[in-house]
Subunit: 448 residues, 2 copies
């Protein structure tokens, strides 16, 4: 559906018709580019805005891409047999039995999510807050997003009771609701929804005949590796699509390769056909050399498993340290449980921020941090939070270093917080947070 | 806009709402998969359906991809500075002065075309016949396609007079028309529109304020290398977008990397902003390692230029031979001028085909060729031709061999038609065409 819904004017002429899509640059990519600009201007930047793993490609993975570099032929839209078998093994080892025929690959899980949303049509329920692109994609490719708040303390999953209310209400108004998107573990909050919440969500989805799209791109980065990720594919296998990619746990965001696991059965068959149709007209297939490397990655060879283990520990350690720095100035921060995000709330400091800096909204606060102090973070509003909420998403993963050498050192050491560049960045963060939140000294009384 | 336009029913529930996209698999990819199936069934297949260059990746290009295999970071949506500069050089050397800021890359020119159509909105005029995906994309991402016939003997460009009529008529009905797509040289007909036609098209586009999208993916495969490609970017520079990729002249279809050249000036600036917005929410960027290799390719090092020269000669030689085989049985065939396509018309044989085989439509004829004889081609109707037209697109490029060794031999030899596997395929083609078109011997009179 077009973003603009005005009826077409009879006098419309030319290159900017009413149906034209006005899609602003994705905020996460925009902040990445804004940071790069600031750096070029010579500003000392603390890059906490962009959701990138901030780690090098493992040499074994690069080697496999090089080995696939002579693959120039178009292949099946769904992806190579080798990649689909490897992804099926990956999910099967995680308690989600998967046949290769259930797997569809694409140029990033973002593209697959777009194709799924387009295939579903109707309105799509998404958590509030949630990753910036869900709402944008639902507006571009379907009939829009319905944002439903997450339960207290749990990110990534709409509150099941509120979900049911929202869908019933929308349908009673003649609107059509097709699916619900969840993120496990969550971006932006870094939390992981409980099994109980996911089970209840699945019950609601089944009762209301909703397809569940479970974005599990951070699955292997749950900080406590003994903790299970409660995938809706386990509780509503007939209606759950799972997506993942190499972007986060293997730090290959720039490679653009993702996979979707479609449900077995009639819902899955219809969705698969539709998704392949959409993919065939937008991207044809995932790049063949990347497919070759991704097949290797999803087979989980020991050297990559070890790399993911080290990455997980690093993300957990630094996210916890960032959390502590925010808590030290009085912000409230949900304990991060996965990925490399922290989602502090400055509500306790609202009065002071308003009095000292005129801050009324989350965007006021993040603009202050960026323009005055070179700290790049994204306001909660970018993720669907209320404008006035003083929450922000902080990515801790771009603190690991500026060079490959520094990043490898961060992966290698048992105590990354002692590395000078990480310690410096954390101290700089504390300094900025203190400057922004410190009580203003009383103005000296005027003398006359 | 949704493919289905029924109003949403108030009672709609669940996973297949009225807005859901039903996009069938792209016919060109579908025929590729059908051929693979036939082969697995043990059928001797003559693969003439799929628009793939059928040649190996040049080792120097593969080496560059390998050299970029450690690039895992997300980069700018528009692509790396190196790729944009290289593509700007490529176009500038072809008489289209280009600044790097005018270049946007993406995961294939198909994805860029989708993004452009979505950015334009409104209805999109496309030539009839034309590449299968233009109409599908206009239906998925904009308000549909208006097919306008090409001038006699020229493919890839809607007849300028008919274009003007169609746009004026659509607008008088309150519909909004945003752009026109052209293909230079053309797929499916293998012809190249004349400079005069392109100039007139540009005048009409300017008068009617239409953006021109010029798909020039086959530009470097014009059979006569001394012949200039008349790009609308030369005659209507303020409103023409040009797209190209590595898929055809460098046979890297499976790599999924393309570039668009946006016009300089206000139309280009708006389109660029919109295209980057759409790209940021669907594909983020082209894969970083492919960008690295594509920067090398668009810098046109001598070894790749030589490869393209050899490829061009091979395509020209085999397309001409295929043309002769079709002409020998009485089909009419426009002389191929570029790419690796032949577009024969069996109209002169209509009565016989109907009497002997019940063939009434192009699809009847291509089904007969596939099911009875293992020859895979696509009917003209897949490209927007009339159902009853007995035209078909024949890709000549998958005859070069089944192995890399055979394909390299085809590139190396001055006379590829003498290579046994190519000669055999051409003879098999003649045999099938003879069997399908030969006059039926009179039935022996019944004796009793």
């Amino acid at each position: 559906m077009p973003v603009q819904n005005e009826s077409t004017e009879a006098t419309s002429t030319g290159s900017r018709p009413s149906g034209a899509r006005r899609v602003p640059l994705s905020p996460t990519l925009a902040i990445n580019e804004a940071m790069a600009r600031k750096r070029r201007e010579g500003v000392r930047v603390l890059p906490l805005g962009f959701g990138e793993a901030g780690l090098p490609i493992h040499p074994a993975l690069a080697r496999e891409l090089a080995a696939g570099s002579d693959r120039g032929a178009y292949g099946p839209v769904a992806g190579s047999a080798a990649l689909r078998a490897a992804a099926a093994g990956y999910w099967s080892r995680r308690g989600l039995p998967t046949e290769p025929g259930m797997v569809v690959s694409g140029p990033g899980s973002k593209a697959l999510l777009f194709g799924l949303v387009m295939s579903l049509g109707g309105e799509i329920v998404i958590p509030a807050p949630s990753w910036v692109s869900y709402a944008a994609q639902a507006t571009m490719a379907a009939e829009g997003a319905i944002q439903v708040a997450t339960p207290p303390g749990e990110g990534g999953v709409p509150s099941p009771a509120l979900l049911a209310d929202a869908v019933v209400r929308a349908r009673s108004q003649g609107r059509s609701v097709a699916g619900v998107v969840v993120t496990l573990p969550d971006n932006p909050t870094g939390t992981l929804a409980s099994e109980q919440t996911v089970r209840r969500l699945c019950e609601v989805a089944r009762e209301l005949d909703l397809v569940i799209v479970s974005d599990e791109i951070y699955r292997d980065l749950v900080h406590d590796p003994s903790r299970d990720v409660p995938s809706p594919a386990a509780y509503a296998p007939e209606r759950t699509v799972v997506t993942t990619a190499l972007s986060k746990h293997l730090a290959a965001g720039g490679w653009r390769i993702g996979v979707a696991r479609l449900p077995d059965g009639p819902i899955g068959e219809t969705l698969r056909t539709d998704l392949l149709g959409v993919g065939s007209e937008i991207w044809s297939s995932a790049p063949a050399p990347m497919q070759h490397a991704a097949a290797f990655a999803f087979s989980e060879p020991p050297e990559l498993v070890e790399r993911v283990d080290r990455s997980r520990r690093l993300h957990a350690t630094v996210a916890a340290a960032v959390t502590a720095r925010f808590e030290a100035v009085g912000a409230r921060v949900p304990s991060p449980e996965g990925a490399f995000y922290v989602y502090p709330d400055f509500e306790p400091l609202r009065d002071r921020l308003r009095a000292d800096h005129g801050v009324r909204t989350g965007a006021d606060l993040t603009e202050l941090l960026l323009e005055r102090h070179g700290v790049g973070v994204l306001p909660g509003a970018a993720f669907g939070d209320a404008e006035e909420a003083l929450r922000m998403r902080v990515s801790s993963s771009l603190l690991y270093g500026e060079t490959e050498e520094q990043r490898l050192a961060a992966l290698a050491t048992p105590d990354p917080l002692t590395l000078p560049w990480i310690a410096d960045s954390l101290d700089r963060l504390s300094e900025v947070l203190a400057a922004v939140t410190a009580p203003t000294p009383l103005a000296a009384p005027a003398t006359c």
